[in-house]
């Protein structure tokens, strides 16, 4: 199984800092560069954590507004800082909301499946995986999504979440075991 590398470049700290300085100096529109640069992985995280595109959009919007308001307080990497805002927003939402499942709309990508049957299978798998993900404890879901959807390394995950690589490996492994237990009867 292939895991993708995170989209942001590793050595963007200086560039981010320059943008931040320009925004703090009053160039408000430059903030859109930071939004464009980091919104996709953050949106994927929020969507997979909440299962709802509307909620994911709300969390992303509120997180970027919060990031803008507190931009002068950024110390270190902006992407790690804004990720923590989004991740905390997702966790707060999960704590406060009670609902079982919301599926999200099809993405804009063209379908690679040739037949309607394959398309139906794909939709069913997505729905079942959404349900299975939503039944995981938030910490396991977060670790699984960061590893398998965002394609982050364990070291990067540990850096972002402030925990150890060993603990994160255990969370991801337990999430896999749980998902397989929930889904394998139908899909194995």
């Amino acid at each position: 199984m292939r895991t993708t590398e995170p989209e942001q470049l590793v050595d963007q700290d200086d560039s981010d800092q320059r943008i931040i300085q320009r925004v703090l100096a009053g160039n408000r529109d430059d903030f859109t560069m930071l939004i464009t640069r980091y919104s996709d992985p953050l949106y994927r995280h929020a969507l997979c954590m909440t299962g709802s595109p509307d909620v994911a959009e709300d969390i992303l919007q509120l997180s970027f507004i919060k990031a803008y308001q507190h931009l002068a307080e950024v110390r270190g990497r902006f992407d790690a800082w804004v990720f923590r805002i989004v991740a905390n927003g997702c966790k707060d939402w999960l704590k406060n909301i009670r609902r079982s499942h919301l599926s999200y709309d099809e993405d804009d990508q063209p379908s690679g499946f040739a037949t309607p049957e394959e398309e139906l299978d794909r939709t069913e798998l997505r729905s079942d995986l959404d349900v299975a993900l939503s039944s995981l404890p938030a910490s396991l879901r977060e670790a699984f999504v960061m590893k398998h959807v965002e394609g982050r390394s364990y070291e990067e995950m540990a850096d972002l979440l402030g925990t150890t690589v060993g603990a994160l490996k255990m969370r991801v492994h337990r999430a896999r075991e749980a998902l397989q237990a929930l889904l394998e009867e139908k899909y194995a």
Binding site: R2, D107, Y154, T164, A167, M170, L179, A188
Partner: protein, 142 residues
């Protein structure tokens, strides 16, 4: 075995952690993690972590597990391609405050500057308050 790692990345103390986890009450959104099925082989986890090849995972693990995760990866690959809705960038920019962000320092962290006039005002206030308090304490009832 990667499964045996505890939160410190060491191989001991795992059973205690699992006991704590199993005795913890589950919230309504959670499902019990423990399942009757046998645990996935470490080689399958290693393959999923990109540390082993598929053939190694099939050889030492379970082909059934490998096939299951390849099937699941079809959906995960779609999720990896998801992008922010086009309208959201403009929506966020429109919702931002118009003024530039400023550093908000709590009052207890702010720097105090004492000028001669402020020192006189503060000193006088303290003397008056002390005099008033003294008069109140030593006031004798008529």
């Amino acid at each position: 075995m990667l499964d045996e790692l505890d939160s410190n990345g060491l191989g001991h103390g795992n059973s205690r952690g699992r006991n704590d986890e199993s005795s913890r009450p589950l919230s309504d959104r959670e499902v019990p993690i423990g399942s009757p099925r046998p645990a996935m082989a470490a080689s399958v986890h290693a393959w999923l972590d990109g540390e082993a090849t598929e053939s190694q995972a099939r050889r030492t693990g379970s082909s059934r597990d490998v096939d299951f995760w390849k099937r699941l990866d079809e959906d995960l690959a779609t999720r990896r391609r998801l992008r922010t809705p086009a309208h959201l960038h403009a929506q966020i920019m429109n919702a931002l405050p118009m003024h530039a962000p400023t550093l908000i320092t709590p009052w207890w962290r702010r720097e105090f500057v004492i000028t001669p006039s402020s020192a006189i005002v503060v000193g006088t206030t303290l003397v008056v308050m002390a005099a008033a308090a003294t008069a109140l304490v030593f006031r004798t009832p008529l």
